[in-house]
């Protein structure tokens, strides 16, 4: 019961974990390359969700300082790190897509199993 209570308290983290596993499942079982790239993005997004929610506290506001007001600000560090993380994920995605474009040129398919079949026939 204690475990269940902990999970309900931390439902943001639980959603992130479920998303992570969905991404992993898609990456392992689907043979379509574009789906693999999407799965990679889902995994990254789940980790970002988890990281950003670490920085949140109930009732806190965005960390843009306003003079003279007594405001409880959120932790700026996770948000700042995730900005970096998102750009990194975008770069990897761009490169993976460019590889898929070229693989499609050679085989006329984006499906990994079909590519293996084509190669075994040659």
């Amino acid at each position: 019961m204690e475990t269940l209570g902990g999970i309900i308290d931390n439902y943001y983290y639980m959603v992130a974990v479920i998303l992570f596993v969905i991404g992993m499942y898609t990456m392992l079982t689907h043979s379509n390359m574009i789906k693999k790239v999407i799965a990679m993005n889902i995994m990254d997004a789940s980790v970002f969700l988890m990281f950003v929610s670490v920085g949140y506290a109930h009732g806190s506001q965005a960390p843009i300082i306003r003079e003279g007001a007594e405001i409880f600000y959120a932790n700026p560090l996770p948000g700042a790190l995730i900005l970096t993380g998102i750009v990194v994920a975008v770069s990897v995605t761009a490169y993976a897509l460019s590889l898929i474009v070229k693989i499609y040129r050679y085989y006329d398919t984006c499906d990994y199993d079909e590519i293996c079949e084509i190669r075994s026939q040659e």
Binding site: F20, V54, Y73
Partner: protein, 113 residues
Amino acid sequence: MFYILFAIFLIIVTLFLRLIIGVEPRTLVTLYLLGFIIFLLSFTVAEMPTFGSPDNPAFNEVPRRYLEQGVAETGAVNIVSSVIIDYRAFDTLGEATVLFVAIAAVIATLRSH
């Protein structure tokens, strides 16, 4: 007792998935593996510092200094900006390099084929 019940439950689920829905054995193995991972991770989640609580370990002196002295030390009102471009500027240099290397990789790949 609990474990026996759980094992019977698993066997029934396996038979249901395999015989009635017709899931491939490979997918079945992957599903169980991922179910196991979810199981372990949810135990971890249950023990994590409570979400949204202001006395989490993450709210230590690091963000406090950013929030209290960030404006004076970096001159930027947006603390996220002052973290990414001043306190942790090398990360952002790495990030610009990631963008650059992505471009270089894309150009190299597309031009060579």
